[in-house]
């Protein structure tokens, strides 16, 4: 009977999504496993990659002991962290403290459900894919705030407060820039957006790319916006009181977010999996790594901004430019829907240069001024 039930329910479910290739369960199972394995492997690879790249840029070697070229270093670290004692502060809010890493980790995994690794190779080709990404990615903030609050540590609380403030501000320019891309592509599905990119949108939306990159760095707290960890100010920020596997979860979240953002930037602006000669999934991977490398590169070089400067950058620099970008894109799409792409590229790059120079003149931060 159980067998019957499961078969019937399977049949029922199979009828549900008509456009999904293969059976629902097969599709779901295979892709979930693939995504989780891919994610964990890639995150470990990214941790290794960041540490190596950082090391080389800082005139040192980086991890090179465990395994060939130190590739197994993240594995060794993970094993070490697994057997560490899990310390919960006596005055912590136990439940919140325990739940926070999970709440932070799950949404990041969920983002990957809609990222196309290849044409159609995605867990769920939602027709509102990018909206889903925006919605889900901000849930991780809740986890981080829970961690900050639940630890009952002043440093953690300060870090968590900074995180909430920055994410709330940066979400807005981020979404507006995405709207520009969506206007050109005419769809919200990530796979469709990739298919629409005969010319990568970085050329059609250079300003949008710049704003999105800055916003994404702030959103996932990469340097120079890594205020919530700010190791020189807040020791370790929100995860000061975390140890053992819970800490590992946060560490994983950090890199998984970076991976997710690199993937989204690749999908939205760099033509996703599209590219000549090489297989599409390899193109996708190469692009993701390149985007991530730029993040590592800025992390090596740039100092950290202050919290008020971070907020001012969002509201005074990114938001107006994002709005203007959206306006210009809308006008372009409306008036010259079939204009030559090369003309558009030149026009857009010129517009970006003019706007950035103009804003640079108007916009001033720091120099003894406190914004808020």
């Amino acid at each position: 009977m159980i067998l019957n039930f499961s078969r019937s329910s399977m049949q029922y479910l199979q009828t549900l999504p008509p456009d999904w290739p293969g059976g629902f369960w097969w599709h779901w199972l295979v892709f979930t496993v693939i995504i989780i394995i891919f994610l964990l492997a890639l995150v470990m690879g990214f941790i290794w990659f960041e540490r190596r790249a950082l090391g080389r840029m800082q005139a040192r070697l980086g991890p090179n002991r465990v395994g060939p070229l130190g590739l197994l270093q993240p594995v060794a670290d993970a094993l070490k962290v697994l057997i560490k004692e899990d310390i919960v502060p006596a005055k912590a809010d136990k439940l919140v403290h325990w739940l926070a890493p999970v709440v932070a980790f799950v949404p990041v995994l969920m983002i990957f459900a809609v990222i196309p690794f290849q044409d159609g190779a995605l867990l769920a080709d939602l027709n509102i894919g990018i909206l889903y990404v925006v919605a889900i990615s901000s849930v991780a903030t809740v986890g981080i705030f829970m961690a900050g609050w639940g630890s009952s540590n002043k440093y953690s609380l300060l870090g968590a407060m900074r995180e909430v403030a920055s994410v709330v501000s940066y979400e807005i320019p981020l979404v507006i820039t995405i709207a520009g891309v969506v206007l050109i592509a005419g769809t919200l599905s990530l796979n469709q957006i990739v298919l629409a990119q005969d010319v990568p949108f970085i050329l059609l939306q250079p300003l949008g790319f710049l704003l999105f990159f800055i916003g994404a760095c702030a959103e996932i707290n990469r340097s120079p916006f890594d205020l919530l960890e700010a190791d020189s100010e807040l020791t370790a920020g929100f995860h000061t009181e975390y140890s053992g596997m819970k800490f590992a979860m946060f560490y994983l979240v950090e890199y998984a977010e970076a991976l997710a953002m690199s993937a989204i930037i690749t999908t939205l602006f760099l033509g996703g999996w599209r590219g000549p000669l090489l297989p599409p999934w390899l193109w996708f991977l190469i692009k993701v790594v390149v985007v991530f490398f730029v993040m590592v590169w800025t992390r090596t070089t740039l100092p950290r901004v202050r919290i008020d400067q971070l907020m001012a950058l969002a509201w005074k620099f990114l938001l107006p430019l994002a709005l203007i970008n959206l306006l210009i894109t809308a006008i372009e799409v409306l008036t010259w829907p079939v204009a030559l792409p090369w003309v558009m590229i030149l026009v857009n790059i010129a517009i970006m240069a003019v706007l950035v120079v103009l804003w640079s003149k108007l916009f001033k931060l720091g120099w003894g001024r406190v914004e808020i």
Partner: protein, 165 residues
């Protein structure tokens, strides 16, 4: 941040870091790669020359930490002091080298070796035979240029970088 230079400062900094990606790293993989230490290294122990030592205890008086203990007896036959015990508590020693400087008979040297960690504090108290020179307890050239001349040349980071580029 005033972008009065349109981010040129940021771009310049990024160029420096990317330049370093292509340069050789300067770190040394220690247990496998070893650099020559200074010829005058004030290494982890004292090396004592029993024949030259007269037991005058100048070193002991000079020692700011007071870790050198010398017990002598009078040898009436040869009319000199006989050193019965020369003990250094290297656990308290700060390797300032003042004893080596003070020794009027060149009987005391600092060690050239540097991997001389011990497992017990008791082993740090070294006396008599333990202080003599041996294959793994070589003398350093600190305050003894004639010893320094025999030791290998010190590797300098300054030269290492330029030689390999």
């Amino acid at each position: 941040m005033k972008f009065e230079r349109y981010g040129i400062g940021i771009a310049k900094g990024l160029m420096v870091t990317i330049k370093h990606l292509l340069r050789r790293p300067v770190t040394v993989q220690y247990p496998e790669q070893r650099l020559n230490v200074s010829r005058r290294i004030r290494g982890n122990e004292l090396v004592w020359d029993r024949i030259k030592c007269t037991g005058c205890a100048t070193c002991s008086k000079t020692c700011p930490q007071g870790v050198i203990q010398i017990i002598t007896s009078v040898n009436l036959v040869e009319n000199k002091y006989e050193v019965e015990k020369f003990e250094v508590d290297t656990g308290y020693c700060i390797f300032c080298g003042l004893c080596v400087e003070a020794c009027p008979y060149d009987a005391l040297y600092l060690g050239y070796a540097y991997e001389r960690a011990k497992y017990r504090r008791g082993e740090l108290v070294q006396a008599n035979e333990m202080l003599l020179e041996s294959a793994d307890r070589r003398r350093s050239g600190y305050f003894h240029p004639e010893v320094a001349a025999e030791l290998p040349r010190q590797t300098l980071l300054l030269e290492r970088i330029t030689e390999e580029e």
